[in-house]
Assembly symmetry: C2
Homo-oligomer: 198 residues x 2
Amino acid sequence: MPKGQPLQVPDDGLTTRQRRGRPLVIVHTGAGKGKSTAAFGLALRAWNQGWPVGVFQFVKSAKWRTGEERALRVLGSCGEGGQVTWHKMGEGWSWIQRQPGGQAEQAAEGWAQVARDLAAQTYRLYVLDEFTYPIRWGWVDVREVTSVLASRPGNQHVVITGRDAHPDLLACADLVTEMTKVKHPMDRGQKGQKGIEW
Amino acid sequence: MPKGQPLQVPDDGLTTRQRRGRPLVIVHTGAGKGKSTAAFGLALRAWNQGWPVGVFQFVKSAKWRTGEERALRVLGSCGEGGQVTWHKMGEGWSWIQRQPGGQAEQAAEGWAQVARDLAAQTYRLYVLDEFTYPIRWGWVDVREVTSVLASRPGNQHVVITGRDAHPDLLACADLVTEMTKVKHPMDRGQKGQKGIEW
């Protein structure tokens, strides 16, 4: 929530308005809570602007993000705000008819669709939830990711969440927040609960 | 997003289920982005559980959080999920008829209503957005806040956002995440933009 004036105005030939409107690659990383919830909070702002929002959920379990998914589906179809399209790896991606392959293959297929959508400018905000992991595990080539992100056309914002973001991904991002755990109920033996963790 | 088993199971006489269901005081603090968006992302999960959600927006500008407010109003009145009630200091609190006083007085009146609602168990999740500031500035007594939070009845979760959370507030919280700025477009002279900052 930075307010006020930037410390320096860069000599980049852009007006304040042009500079302000530049599309962003945003990364929420770190071991603390709030990486995905903050990304879905951003999706509310995008929805409010009338932007089409595409969510790509790069997680194994189909149970995750059920609250966020239901809320964004209601918002996306209520006749106000932007449309929301939700893609889940956990159930096999919706654009793939055949049986899902292994997780590495599924993650690669998810990223390939993101790249196609970026080329086609399908959405204005992309939420790539837990996408740091397939990059870390080598299932998706980080050089390809940064190259596609850097050369994406138009005005498309991309938010990527997950721990242990690859250094090359951080280098290519415009905005990086690290969610740091200061204190967590798990430290006192309390497991996650509905309404809070999902 | 901690998964799996806690490292230690405490000797507190509670079952895992009882321990898991304990109500939480959550603080999102630090200089990075994502404190409020993560709180509103949590509100989506609460809404999905059918919980009544109360938002208290302790900020001066009525322009802030317009996206989140519109989204949660749509969700709260769509006939699915929990009800959402939104209170704004920036426009004068809705339960106060007379002209608003100064900000210190308004903040104190906001907190007094939160305390009444906690006593009455009005909501299941409270989002006290930017509430760290009135505490920091001494407009609201931190001892009273921690006392009311510690003795609140029933099963009520409270999320508090803002920089520079008071140490006594952190001490009384169950879950604290610090949003740390790693990189921000403001560093390159780029000001905030719609859909991202509001």
